[in-house]
Amino acid sequence: MTNTNFDPIILSFCCNWCSYAGADLAGISRLQYPTNVRIIRVMCSGMVHPNLVIDALTKGADGVIICGCHIGDCHYLEGNLKAQSRAEAIKLMLQDFGIEDERFRIEWISASEGPRFAQVMKDFTEEIKKIGPSPYKV
């Protein structure tokens, strides 16, 4: 059941070249999505250390989403592939911390996919709202 009063905090790591630009395009196209998302710009999705994701989720973030270029389009050749393999590891680590799998996602969003960015953020926020607040939330 969706908790209507729960206003989750969601962190989104966006790569500079595709997803961050996709987020900008959502803005240029005035596509509305929930205010819960806070974007942190990184150069590449492959730059996001698993510890940062764990750190965020154990310190009160209700959801974390890494966004990178589509496979094959990485500005740094294969950073997104690295991020993808790390995502598997992150999922395993989350189990140890007792954090639900669904609180972490990885998505590929290109610079021309403003609508997709808005949609992904809408869906993810909805999903987090369904799961409820992070168990680590004070």
Partner: protein
């Protein structure tokens, strides 16, 4: 001027103005639905009520939009009384128009979800914006109010069509509740302006940005449709634009340039399918062109990436593509070269979108997947269920009730079938650009009969006029990589003419000396932008400024109407000096467009440009949360807090410069290598040209004649002579590379040549090592002397075979795709079809009575070579298609070669006794490519050809800087394509060595020696091979650590994310920085 007080803040405004703009100028948001800056105030909606206290009287509620300011009044905008009043108004409006999104949003802000009174479901609340718009701005007065009291409504005189209405749609545009005007004005709909970028599939406004990613990303006024420019009415954009950027007086300007060379790249015109009326384009709504479908597939297209058909905007479940519309026909006997692949791509994307349920049929004649990776892509499409039907349908019929389309077609064995489709896409071809004739006249070009500017094989981008170059589809239909290659090739040819002039127009910006901030505590200055109404219209910017001042280390904060204006730039510089700022944050738009501007501004004030951070409160906040101002404000504060958290850690960074060697190394002395070397030498660079064999010339020495009649060996020899006698080219034959060290700008290569060992230093490398012919093992090759390859046939023909007139009638069979397009080598070798047709025509020329059969899978004579395919058919060369799973069989019976093949047209096996069997063998990569790839640390494809940085957009670059690629080493190609790519490689190489030094990226990795224990986890994942492990002696013991090659590192941070011990980081993206941003994001604000 009059003075008033708003929320205890004193403000001066012009006399005779109204209250609402004054309040808004302070960044205070007031709800309103009936106010528009460009129209006279009307006071209809009453949402903008505020409390006004005239001195000496009690305060009263007033509609601020229509309240003229009186000197000395005291205004409150945020009291309980106002809230209650607005809530009642919002509730009444909601009851009247409960479906209006704008009203629902405003009501929600005042806590009203359901009105307590009965809902009326009106679509108009009589705000009068449309009436005022029509009268005041358009001067038409075509609509007005009629009736009184509860019967008041808005309509045209007598409710009939009013001739005064010119269907401009301004009333429609301005309506705050989105009422559709045509229902109450006239029976014609407002004039729509088709959006040209989306192929007219949707509409745009007279002021628009061409497409979301256009550069510059600025709107322009279309002078054909703007009513102000045409009839001197409207003009509201000028009133609304807070940046005062609208200038109606701007005129087209002519300028004259003095140039040394001209490059013509006019592109192409898509074929107009209305010229093929049988396909019903323009008549049947659901017959569209592939370019239109391309826009439909695009996320930024007319339907936001949803696959909808034009007639009823439903998603089709059965789509057909018809290939060769406007190509390969009687009038246009050429192949457009790109349509097979774009249709395949569109079908794959559509299937990825829609999944299993979507059926895609492609009607084709020959599937021309001849470029790198294309055949594999074609196979993938088939595996995904894209259905290829070999047939050219003659016409399309429409079922009027459903707007579905019927295609009748014949299968290969003459069976008549019919298919019903919900959408049909015409794969329209490429025709000559519209201005071809004009350009030809102006630059004395010669056009071929299709109006393209065909060029010679040995000078693929040269026009007949010196200094005028032609590129792209203008020379022949071609795909993106070939166009990019030709573009770079034209640049190379230009450089060889104008190298002495290079860089003369570059102006360098000089900055004041940089301030040393070592040891200083962070002093952060924040500039929050209103961006006119873009940010300020949604959130209260001064409140963000107030909040920013409370954040740690922030010593200064201010707001600007436009932080990017020249005036604000001066203010930033002034603030840096006055407040001794050492970190600057701009909270405005996106760093992707504006970071360089602000970095330059702080540099002008003596700060290192990397001491700058942006908070994206527009694109990623107010624009995407327009209806949630409270939450948007909170988020803006969060984003500013996150920026401060990071900015406190920022360090000054420097783009280090390194001196480089300006010589070039070219590996391979075939046509490609020779061309690259010669062009670089013409640009005055020293070139080392290495050839493995004892002579220059490579594979091209085997080409004896050409389709267009050119003499290949004469051309090759003249090229070789030029290279041999060029003083700047140093040729080393019989050479072999021992090792290659270093990186871009400073390579050092050791090689053997004629038993001597040499070492040369060079700044760039060009790989032009070529490829080989496949040596067949099938079809009795090597067992029977009458089974030979095309290359051997060419040699034979050149040496007099079939020259004598008195020989007996011969039969010759050619088998295509020997060693290509099979399981072992899935790629198409691209050139064998042309070679077969070339040799076939030569045989027919020498001995017209020869029986000639070509057994093929698809004939891939792309571009103008299609004409030779037609010619071959006219000369009675017989083409028999065979399937991959029904390959021809060859036997030798009593000394006679017999070829048998299943003919799909006859639906029977055909046996041919032949005198000569020619195998069209594919091109295969060289064995030693792997060795060179390892030495250069560059990748190969799974087929064994060298792999470029990007198949479409960077066809001659490797991902490794300073290494370039051309010729057959990249992929099989024709001589003109090899030459274009070779020129492109030298052009790309010269971008590096034409400078004395190279500037390295500043945001790159750094090793923390104390933390690094030499585990080397980071080394393999590095995509640029920029990390090496090394050991040194520290305090008497061996210490392992990692070293970053600053020339190779690009700062992707893969190493940082891999390191378990914080032993390596990307500058200004340290884990600590990002962790600080996370902590700031999670901190809850009051």
């Amino acid at each position: 001027m009059v003075t008033l007080i708003i929320n205890n803040q004193k403000i001066e405004v012009e006399e005779g103005t109204y209250l609402l703009p004054a309040i808004e100028s302070l960044g205070i948001k007031v709800p309103t639905l009936c106010y528009h800056k460009a129209l006279m105030p009307y006071g209809a909606c009453r949402l903008c009520v505020v409390e006004v206290q005239v001195p000496g009287r009690d305060s009263s509620l007033q509609a601020s939009c229509s309240y003229p300011i009186i000197n000395g009044i005291n205004v409150f905008t945020n009291t309980e009384r106002i809230f209650r009043a607005r809530k009642v108004v919002a509730e009444l409006l909601l009851a009247r128009c409960p479906d209006s999104e704008a009203i629902i949003n405003i009501a929600a802000e005042y806590g009203v979800k359901e009105p307590r009174i009965k809902k009326k479901y009106e679509d108009c609340f009589l705000c009068g914006l449309c009436v005022r718009m029509c009268e005041e701005r358009m001067g038409r007065s075509a609509i007005g109010f009629t009736g009184r009291g509860s019967r008041r409504k808005q309509e045209t005189p007598y409710g009939k069509h009013n001739v005064m209405c010119w269907t401009c749609g301004a009333c429609n545009f301005i309506c705050p509740v989105g009422k559709k005007v045509q229902s109450f004005t006239i029976d014609t709909i407002p004039i729509s302006i088709p959006d040209s970028f989306n192929m007219g599939l949707n509409e745009r406004k007279p002021v628009s940005v061409l497409y979301p990613q256009a550069i510059p990303n600025k709107p322009a006024i279309d002078n054909n449709t703007c009513l102000h420019l045409n009839y001197d009415v409207c003009g509201i954009c000028k009133v609304v634009c807070e940046a005062k950027a609208i200038d109606y007086e701007q005129k087209e300007q002519k300028s004259e340039l003095n140039v040394g060379a001209v490059i013509l790249s006019p592109g192409y015109n898509p074929f107009n399918p209305e010229l093929k009326p049988d396909y019903g384009y323009g008549k049947f709504k659901n017959v569209i062109t592939a370019l239109e479908f391309e826009r439909i597939l695009s996320a930024s297209g007319p339907f936001q990436g949803k696959i909808l058909r034009p007639s009823d905007k439903t998603d089709p479940e059965k789509i057909a593509w018809i290939q060769c519309v406007g190509s390969r026909d009687y009038e246009r006997d050429y192949c457009s070269a790109v349509c097979c692949m774009y249709a395949t791509k569109e079908a794959i994307i559509a299937k990825e979108h829609e999944g299993e349920k979507l059926k895609c049929d492609i009607f084709y004649m020959d599937m021309r997947a001849f470029s790198k990776g294309f055949e594999e892509y074609y196979i993938r499409a088939q595996k995904l269920g894209v259905n290829y039907i070999r047939c050219r349908p003659l016409s399309i019929k429409e079922i009027p009730e459903t707007n579905n389309l019927i295609i009748d077609y014949l299968t290969e064995n003459d069976r008549k079938l019919s298919g019903e489709y919900e959408l049909v896409i015409l794969s329209t071809g490429l025709t000559a650009p519209g201005q071809a004739k004009k350009l030809a006249e102006e630059f004395s070009l010669e056009l071929n009969k299709y109006d393209f500017c065909e060029t010679s094989s040995f000078a693929p981008v040269d026009s007949p006029k010196e200094g005028v170059f032609v590129t792209g589809v203008f020379t022949e239909p071609k795909d993106i990589p070939e166009s990019v290659m030709q573009g770079s090739a034209a640049a190379a040819r230009t450089l060889s003419l104008l190298f002495t002039e290079k860089g003369k127009l570059v102006k360098k910006k000089v900055y004041p000396p940089e301030k040393d901030i070592t040891g200083e505590e962070p002093r952060v200055g924040i500039f929050v932008c209103h961006c006119g109404k873009n940010i300020g219209g949604v959130i209260n910017v001064p409140e963000v400024v107030e909040y920013a001042r409370t954040l740690p280390d922030v010593v200064y904060a201010e707001d600007n109407l436009y932080t990017c204006s020249a005036e604000s730039g001066e203010k930033i510089k002034q603030a840096i000096k006055e407040h001794n700022l050492n970190r600057v944050i701009v909270a405005s738009c996106t760093p992707r467009t504006h970071e360089p501007l602000f970095q330059s501004i702080i540099q002008e004030a003596g700060l290192n440009p990397y001491l700058f951070e942006m908070a994206n409160i527009r694109d990623q906040c107010t624009w995407v949360h327009m209806h949630e101002p409270k939450l948007a404000l909170q988020k803006a504060k969060d984003l500013v807090r996150m920026a401060v958290a990071k900015a406190r850690f920022l360090e000054p960074l420097y783009n280090r410069k390194v001196k480089i060697s300006r010589d070039a190394l070219v590996i391979g002395g075939g046509v490609s290598g020779i061309t690259s070397a010669l062009n670089l030498a013409e640009q005055s660079f020293e070139v080392y040209l290495l050839e493995k064999r004892d002579t220059l010339g490579g594979n091209f020495m085997k080409v004896k004649f050409m389709l267009n009649g050119d003499d290949p060996q004469k051309k090759l020899n003249s090229l070789i002579n030029k290279v041999k006698h060029h003083p700047k080219i140093h040729i080393y034959t019989n050479s072999q590379i021992v090792k290659i060290d270093g990186s871009v700008g400073n390579f050092s290569t050791e090689f053997k040549s004629d038993d001597n060992v040499h070492t040369v230093n060079h700044g760039v490398v060009i790989v032009a090592t070529g490829a080989e012919d496949y040596k067949p093992t099938e079809y009795l090759y090597g067992q029977d002397k009458n089974v030979i390859t095309q290359t051997e046939l060419e040699e034979k023909l050149a040496n007099g075979y079939l020259q004598t007139t008195n020989h007996k009638q011969q039969t010759v069979v050619m088998i295509q795709c020997v060693g290509s397009r099979d399981e072992k080598r899935p790629y198409c070798s691209r050139i064998c079809c042309q070679q077969a047709i070339k040799n076939a025509l030569m045989i027919k020329e020498k001995s017209p009575d020869t029986n000639l059969f070509i057994l093929y899978r698809d004939i891939r004579t792309y571009g103008f070579n299609e004409g030779y395919y037609t010619k071959a058919r006219e000369k009675d060369v017989r083409f028999i298609a065979y399937d991959a799973d029904k390959k021809p069989e060859v036997e030798k019976i009593n000394g006679q070669l017999k070829v048998s093949v299943y003919d799909p047209v006859l639906n029977a096996k055909v046996n041919i006794k032949t005198d000569l069997l020619i195998l069209s063998t594919g091109v295969i990569p060289r064995d030693d490519a792997k060795d060179l790839a390892q030495k250069l640390k560059v990748p190969l494809t799974s087929d064994g050809f060298f792999l470029e940085a990007h198949m479409k957009l960077r066809p001659v670059d490797f991902a490794t800087d300073g290494v370039f690629l051309c010729g057959l080493a990249h992929f099989p190609k024709t001589v003109d394509e090899s030459i274009a790519q070779a020129l492109a490689a030298s052009s790309r190489a010269s971008t590096i060595i034409s400078k004395e030094e190279i500037e390295l990226a500043a945001v790159i990795s750094n090793v923390v020696d104390e933390n690094c224990d030499g585990c080397a986890y980071c080394i393999d994942p590095c995509p640029y091979k920029a990390l090496t492990l090394f050991e040194y002696m520290r305090e008497g013991s061996i210490k392992k650590t990692v070293e970053v090659d600053e020339l190779k590192c690009k700062g992707c941070g893969t190493c940082m994310a891999t390191c378990p011990k914080k032993g390596i980081y990307v500058r200004n993206f340290k884990l600590e920085h990002i962790a600080a941003q996370i902590a700031a994001a999670l901190q809850t604000v009051e």
